[in-house]
């Protein structure tokens, strides 16, 4: 039985965080993605399905950057990733299921 102090020492809750420089770089990327996302709305003649796809892709990238770097999931224990991503997947499926039940997919034309 290993009862040495080291065995019972508190586990590091941070496996290491990003540097301040990384945080600033991520914030700049987030600002650029937001600008492109909003700018796409004002591009004349852009087909709706292209616009929707762009907004969804850029939104997903922003979401992933904040979770990975600002919330440190990239550096933290994988158990925490599972605790968050599991319900996130379920939530996404709930959204898709409700939309399917109500025939309300974004790309479908509505009156």
């Amino acid at each position: 039985m290993d009862s040495s102090p080291a065995a019972h020492a508190p586990a590091a809750h941070d496996e290491g965080h990003a540097s301040v420089q990384t945080y600033i770089r991520v914030a700049v990327v987030l600002a650029i993605l937001t600008a492109i996302e909003i700018g796409a709305l004002y591009v004349p003649g852009l087909p709706k399905h292209v616009l929707v796809t762009l907004i969804l892709i850029f939104g997903t990238m922003k979401f992933a950057l904040v979770v990975a770097f600002f919330m440190h999931l990239r550096y933290d224990n994988k158990v925490l990733t599972a605790l968050f991503v599991g319900p996130l997947v379920i939530a996404t499926l709930i959204i898709l299921a409700i939309m399917a039940l109500f025939s309300a997919f974004l790309l479908l034309a509505r009156g």
Binding site: H8, V26, M71, A104
Partner: protein, 199 residues
Amino acid sequence: MAAEHVAVFHNPNIGTTGLDHRKMGMWAFLGSECMFFGSLIGTYLAYKGKSINGPGPHEILNIPLTSVSAFVLLMSSLLMVLALAAVQRNDMKWGKIWLFLTAVFGAGFVGFQIFEFTHFVHLGLTLQTNLFGSTFFVLTGFHGAHVTGGVIWLLAMWWLAVRGRLGPQDSLKVEICGLYWHFVDIVWIVIFALIYLIP
């Protein structure tokens, strides 16, 4: 046998997983919040375009104004990680400044939302007007309430720091507050894209 009973350091907050209970608890809470906001977003999208009377989203949503407020909330996330980094390196002067500025940016976002809600009511959109009004106000209202809770939490952390009762040994408390704050930011990233930007 006696050797096995030597005094050992055991942190009661660390469980068999080796992770801090408080941090795990916050992540589990955020997971449940994903499903909470997922159901509200799903309901909004399911009823989108099905109101039988106006005003509708394309007549009323102010994209430039909301873009500014979305940017303010996004940048508050940067301020939050800067606050955490400052507290971790025991730079409490900047820790206090970043914490306070994060709360100010959050309060600014809430201010934008109060202005937007008031403006919509003046234009004739209320919770009872139509399906758009009901789903929009419930979704964005719950998000605004979460941001307000976050601002109060941030101000409490800032006040502890001002009183000298927050130091690098408490960085996990700041990190957990930050997790909540970043979560309200990512929820707004989704709401902004799905409700405001997608035509």
